[in-house]
């Protein structure tokens, strides 16, 4: 399974980068979201995969025994997911406002408006 997820991560990276390299701002944002998913998956993989054993201490125990999923990358990713929501919403509203002012979502055309 690891190999499959490694390939998926690569695909997410490739797709995100391809969209970031587009001229349209909307595609840029979608690209960033895809790339973000790729990064989350990467961090998740780095912790090592453990099937079906969440890092939760059983009722009668005081600490975890045996094999369990790594909680540290999980905490990192949880934070990342929530923060990315803030980032995306702000970015998309920024695009909307910018579009209202310069009437384009083409990054190159926006560059032109700088020079005026």
């Amino acid at each position: 399974m690891e190999i499959l997820l490694a390939i998926m991560t690569g695909i997410l990276y490739a797709a995100g980068i391809y969209l970031i390299l587009r001229r349209s701002l909307v595609k840029l944002i979608i690209g960033i979201v895809l790339l973000g998913n790729g990064v989350n998956l990467l961090i998740f993989l780095m912790g090592g995969l453990v099937k079906g054993r969440p890092p939760i201490i059983p009722e009668d125990a005081k600490h975890l025994e045996g094999l369990f999923a790594d909680p540290v990358p999980q905490a990192l990713i949880l934070t990342a997911i929530v923060i990315s929501f803030g980032l995306q919403s702000f970015a998309i509203v920024l695009i909307k406002r910018a579009y209202k002012v310069v009437k384009t979502d083409d990054i190159d055309a926006m560059n032109e408006t700088d020079r005026i």
Binding site: I56, G86, S89
Partner: protein, 137 residues
């Protein structure tokens, strides 16, 4: 997007989902869940209600502007963070615990209040964002 089925369903769903979100928040220390997830579930409940019944009704139901929850949540979180400094002369964010266990919730401590602050901030933030956008677009 007004359908009678959805709107009447959402009237029942809202309290159920809110209850669930509080449940998720409270048990977060022991089982999957916590402030972030609880807050997100609560905000989805309100957004669902808004889609079904219109934003005005949801706003009326809420009474307060969701943005108001942000400072409230931040205050709760920060108070719970500095509480150990004030009450017990311990470093910032040290856990303080009430010794006896309470049924359903488990032990009560400053971490729970901190998580509640997170919950309120998340609800406030996501509702502010979504409501503002759907109002102006």
């Amino acid at each position: 997007m007004k359908s009678i089925i959805l709107s009447s369903a959402s009237n029942y769903l809202l309290p159920l989902l809110l209850l669930f979100s509080v449940f998720v928040l409270l048990r977060g220390h022991y089982l999957p869940g916590g402030g972030f997830i609880g807050g997100l579930i609560a905000s989805i409940a309100f957004i669902l209600h808004a889609f079904a019944n219109g934003l005005k009704k949801t706003r009326y139901l809420l009474r307060i502007h969701p943005g108001f929850l942000i400072p409230v949540g931040l205050t709760v979180a920060i108070l719970s963070a500095v509480a150990p400094m004030i009450f017990a002369d311990l470093p910032l964010l040290t856990g303080l615990w009430y010794p006896d266990e309470i049924p359903v919730i488990g032990k009560i401590g400053s971490a729970l209040f901190f998580d509640t602050g997170v919950y309120l901030v998340v609800v406030g933030v996501s509702l502010t964002i979504i409501f503002t956008i759907s109002e102006t677009v």
